[in-house]
């Protein structure tokens, strides 16, 4: 199916402002026409469906190299395609750490081999994520992987002078400095959000201030250095306010929020279920509402999954010993529609902007985030009204650690096209599509 027409869907492309019933013609992997009455030998019926640019996940842990027992570039790519994504940004906290050109090129080429989504590796800011010596920033930026975003995700950069130096240096490449905002001393030993619930459960808390301190510092440093700053997985009202103020001041800052942070609160920790353990932790309802407001008013730029696969035996431990992290790729759209669009917080167009347009722009991925003539056909078709139940055992991801098992969601991915090639049909990964 090299030439086809997607017929009669509601085409929503926030990049161009298009939101209308139209046909989309694809030839040789490229969108060649958008309009009415288009024809081709093959037709994909998109009646009652939304046709959107494929989603772009700014924050995915693919676990390869190092933890192929939990996830590989190929299985994560399959999960991503099933979730309507056509691009993912691979976090660098692998083993070995993606702090050199050879590792990012390995991940990038594994992504090409899998051939289901565009895998763009993020590079580490520091060698071994230790926050002391610069990773091979320029070599990674100039490598085949063309790294555009650097982060020590999993850790915040504790040393302010080091953070400043890296930001200054990254200006060379107009690359993004992305921070996991967490003051290590304040967060030390923390198991969940610090508040009345952590106090009642007897679990050591991570105060909101641990995130907000570093967010405020980084905004000041971005102002000082002119570097592009991206704040990963914003989780508190205070951080949302810091970003809002920074944007008003003209600082080059962007921010993302995860579906679990706009859906769940620390109430979920009541039964000590390690599936609910995540970092940054699930916060209070006021924080959750601030994130929803930030997503609606443009303070927060992207919905990112922080997809973090973990082996079953790692989550089947005492709460204190279980690693933080939850899956996200295959539930992102459903949660966005159920939590944000259905209750009227966001329009569908804004939701697509958050899932695709803006993350593609932040990552400077030219072939992603837009439906336009002459651009690669990275597309998702979803039914915004379809109800479905999350069944972790049916995930494409190799892990099962979702906190949303059994939850009923609205909004389901039907077809995904990556560079014009169909990867998902009728909600299922296509047989043999895996390269």
């Amino acid at each position: 199916m090299s030439d086809f027409v997607i017929r009669g869907g509601r085409v929503i492309d926030p990049a161009s402002g298009r939101d209308e019933i139209a046909d989309v013609k694809v030839e040789d992997g490229v969108v060649t026409a958008i309009g009415n009455g288009l024809d081709a030998s093959e037709v994909v019926d998109a009646t009652n469906m939304v046709v959107a640019p494929g989603f772009v996940d700014m924050h995915t842990h693919l676990r390869e190299p190092g933890r192929e027992d939990e996830e590989t570039v190929a299985t994560a790519s399959a999960g991503a395609a099933a979730g309507g994504f056509t691009a993912v940004c691979a976090m660098p906290n692998t083993d070995p750490v993606a702090d050199s050109a050879s590792v990012v090129e390995q991940v990038w080429s594994l992504g090409r081999e899998a051939g289901l989504v565009e895998v763009t590796p993020a590079g580490a800011l520091s060698k071994s994520l230790e926050g002391r010596k610069m990773a091979d920033l320029g070599e990674m930026a100039r490598s085949l992987a063309k790294v555009r975003l650097f982060t020590d995700d999993g850790h915040g950069v504790q040393d302010s002078l080091f953070a400043r130096r890296v930001m200054e240096y990254l200006v060379t490449f107009d690359a993004v400095y992305a921070e996991h905002c967490e003051d290590a001393a304040l967060a030390a030993g923390g198991q969940m959000h610090e508040g009345s619930r952590s106090m009642a459960l007897g679990l050591r808390g991570i105060p909101a201030a641990a995130e907000e301190l570093m967010a405020a510092r980084d905004v000041a440093l971005a102002k000082l250095t002119g570097c592009r700053l991206h704040l990963l997985h914003v989780s508190t009202r205070g951080t949302v306010e810091i970003v809002r103020r920074a944007k008003e001041d003209g600082v080059r800052v962007t921010a993302e929020a995860t579906p679990h942070h706009f859906t769940l609160t620390d109430e979920a920790l009541e039964g000590y279920d390690p599936l609910m353990k995540v970092n940054p932790p699930l916060r209070e309802d006021d924080d959750r509402r601030a994130i929803v407001e930030g997503l609606a008013d443009g303070t927060i730029d992207a919905i990112a999954t922080d997809h973090a696969p973990h082996a079953r035996e790692e989550k089947d431990q005492e709460f204190a010993y279980a690693p933080p992290g939850m899956l996200g790729l295959e539930t992102a759209l459903g949660l966005t529609i159920t939590q944000l669009v259905e209750p009227g917080h966001l329009s569908l167009s804004r939701a697509i902007e958050l899932l695709s347009t803006t993350p593609a722009r932040i990552l400077q991925m030219d072939g992603q985030g837009a439906i336009a003539e002459g651009r690669p056909a990275n597309l998702v078709l979803f039914d915004p009204k379809a109800r479905w139940t999350v069944e972790p055992e049916r995930f494409q991801s190799f892990s099962r650690n979702t906190p949303f098992g059994g939850r009923e969601l609205t909004g389901k991915v039907v077809h995904t096209f990556f560079r014009g090639r169909q990867t998902v049909r009728d909600g299922a990964l296509l047989e043999g599509v895996r390269a």
Binding site: L201, G202, L203, Q317, E318, F319, A320
Partner: protein
């Protein structure tokens, strides 16, 4: 009666009264020349201890034996399967596969008994989990106070010290508040949670302000690692501001009691002459622990009230 005892939240005032009343009856049994009841003959209780413990483990073991249950003691130490890397869940399933009726669990990780209760069919009794709860300690403390004052309702109880990190404090506040006592938490803000109002307790940073009014002064153990965490300047300063010495004790009402869950740091939270004074019921707490744990095993593993009466 409840299937598992994980938290004092599960117990109403009526439940607590029933447990304490049953403990009182069982207490009489332990004063007999033959200190054993056949009630739990054929039942098996496993003490699963992931943390060192002297009084709680021995007390549970003796309680089960006095009721004629078989007892297995499993300590997660260098000689056990845990040292070989066996997970908590696998250990739980292994013990369950041997056919136990109750698991008494002590664990350094808060919530471990909750998790265990989802994995096994046996009854789970929380013998202390991390900084969360220690319900049997609270019940034996309630028993000990009731023994002296007959009624808990309206009593004024000060709990002094490291509330934030204390499972004993959490369970005691819940139990005391449920029984109608008036609880004041005393200590510096580094050790006293700001959420006290949600717990139904009040806070005072000055022990001298409350000492003359309280019916019970409950002192918590100062854990040695707290000083290295800079939660207060020194043990000397702690003792001066929040420790109970004989001068401070002299201000207490004549019938007021001094309690401590043990093990004590004499000279820090409690002076030696205070712990050995007539006000101190610290050793009563220990002996009452046996009766209260017998009562719980008895009620939870299906004993009949009549048997005690007989």
């Amino acid at each position: 009666m409840i299937k598992h005892l994980l938290s004092m939240d599960q117990l109403s005032a009526d439940d607590i009264t029933r447990i304490l009343d049953t403990a009182e009856s069982l207490r009489q049994v332990t004063d007999r020349p033959i200190k054993k009841l056949p009630t739990l003959r054929g039942r098996t209780v496993c003490n699963l201890f992931y943390e060192a413990s002297t009084r709680t483990r021995i007390s549970f073991e003796l309680a089960a034996k006095r009721l004629s249950a078989d007892v297995i003691n499993f300590s997660a130490d260098s000689k056990s399967s845990v040292a070989k890397g066996e997970s908590f869940k696998d250990t739980a399933w292994t013990i369950e596969a041997m056919g136990v009726d109750a698991i008494v669990v002590r664990h350094g990780s808060s919530g471990a008994p909750h998790q265990l209760s989802r994995w096994v069919k046996a009854s789970v009794l929380n013998a202390g989990d991390g900084a969360h709860e220690h319900p049997t300690q609270a019940l034996l403390d309630l028993y000990s106070i009731r023994e002296r004052f007959k009624d808990l309702d309206g009593l004024k109880v000060a709990i002094v010290g490291d509330i934030i990190h204390s499972r004993v404090a959490r369970s005691n506040v819940k139990g005391l508040v449920t029984m109608g006592a008036d609880v004041v938490l005393v200590g510096p803000p580094t050790l006293v949670p700001p959420e006290h109002a949600a717990w139904g307790a009040s806070v005072c940073y000055d022990l001298d302000q409350v000492i003359a009014d309280v019916d019970v002064c409950y002192l918590l153990r100062v854990q040695q690692e707290r000083q290295s965490e800079q939660l207060f300047p020194s043990n000397r300063e702690y003792a001066a501001l929040w420790g109970l010495d004989s001068r401070r004790m002299a201000k207490m009402k004549p019938e007021a009691l001094v309690m401590h869950p043990g093990p004590m740091n004499r000279g820090v939270e409690i002076a030696a002459d205070v712990s050995e004074s007539p006000r101190s019921i610290i050793l009563d707490q220990v002996s009452n622990g046996l009766a209260v744990r017998m009562s719980l095993l008895y009620l939870m593993l299906g004993g009949q009230d009549e048997e005690v009466a007989a």
